[in-house]
Symmetry: C2
Subunit: 245 residues, 2 copies
């Protein structure tokens, strides 16, 4: 019987997905995003060709992708220059993941969590108006499962349901842009768990808040949903300040 693939596996798969060029990307991307090749560094195609043992074509495809992410700029007679950090497409989930795996993880985590503080409360408020009955039910179930995983101190299960919860809220907002931030939130939550920038056991306070958000959305109480979600986010921000000052 074929084992069900986990979200993690899925992510891994379409990251290093079969293609050779993805393999190069999966090595070169993190190397740049983590500051191993600081801005201004010049890479040359032949060099990369040799380093990764692949053909020019493959390197060029990988470079094109990095170029689209504004991580590098390729110019004739010069080579492939690493761009200034401020130019990077930091909303690209791949870039987020690469940076989260790198050195200034906690700074990164903080700016992402600040973004969550701005976006998620508004999304929760909208969700209270727009969520379908199905989504309301999902939220209730997920909050309950978070509570159960919390009691069992099962971090992995907690993470899965936490991610799912926030994703449903963002989707239920009915706003496409918010919905797409589900991936970003997922990266943040996964990142802080994987890199141990989190309490060893889930915060019972946070669990309660999630349950209450689910209730508020089901009760169509937009202001409550918004302020409860704000509490969750500032809680996450505070937690970050304690654990990674």
């Amino acid at each position: 019987m074929p084992q069900q693939e986990s979200p993690r596996d899925r992510r891994e798969r379409d990251e290093t997905g079969g293609g050779l060029h993805s393999r190069v990307l999966a090595e070169l991307g993190p190397a740049i995003a983590s500051g191993e090749h600081p801005p201004g560094t010049v890479l040359r195609i032949d060099e990369l060709e040799a380093r990764y043992g692949v053909s020019r074509t493959v390197v060029r495809e990988a470079v094109r992708v990095l170029e689209a992410m504004h991580l590098v700029e390729s110019r004739r007679r010069v080579g492939i220059t690493v761009r200034r950090t401020e130019e990077w497409n930091v909303f690209d989930p791949a870039v987020i993941r690469w940076r989260l795996a790198g050195a200034d993880r906690s700074r990164q985590l903080k700016s992402l969590t600040t973004l969550r503080t701005a976006v998620e409360p508004v999304a929760a408020g909208l969700a209270a108006d727009a969520a379908t009955p199905g989504q309301c039910r999902e939220l209730t179930v997920l909050a309950a499962e978070m509570a159960a995983a919390g009691r069992a101190a099962d971090l992995a299960a907690y993470l899965v349901h936490d991610i799912a919860f926030h994703r449903v809220v963002l989707e239920a907002s009915g706003n496409e842009m918010f919905a797409r931030l589900g991936d970003v939130v997922a990266e943040v939550l996964t990142g802080r768990t994987e890199h141990h920038v989190m309490f060893t056991a889930p915060d019972p306070e946070a669990v309660t808040l999630h349950v209450r958000v689910a209730e508020a959305v089901r009760a169509r109480d937009a202001v409550a949903a918004e302020s409860l979600m704000r509490e969750i986010c500032v809680g996450a921000l505070r937690e970050l300040d304690i654990l990674a000052p």
Copy 2:
């Protein structure tokens, strides 16, 4: 004397930037993003090769970029499939621009403006704490220039200063993610002006609000900055509802 290149020119340049593959991208990207090739459509490399009169390599490089944006998925034996809209990287400035040029422009504009409503007020609040004296001065100057352009009914000048104003606020917030949303806001403002989803003359009310935001930031009054910016954004949202219901 070499003419200073406008922001518009610069954008055009690194969009269709010299490279042949960028030319393909600049045609294929919008075609997909605007729904001309709806999700599920299958393209084949040879087909694109013929359509654009370029070599295989070039097409593949373009496809790689679209793949990184999650607009398409390339699979052996099947071809290049356009992905479901929900999978697209809608935060990529290029994707935003392409969609804004397409059919459901006003829906798109609305979801982006909702995003602004969530983010910009928070950014303004942070900016009130973190803006440098230089940034405070810039904001004051830009607000004044907006007022002047408004009085002169010079839409083009108004747009430039409006974009610059919001960009400075987002940068002054000190949060990297917010700062990068400057491009998104720029696309939105440009988009609504270019596609005439805007009053023919700038709203005097809005101008006043910008001036007051600049004052609040200079006075280090975070709550005022936040609520004033919120007024600007909900104003923009309301304006959209009136002009593109």
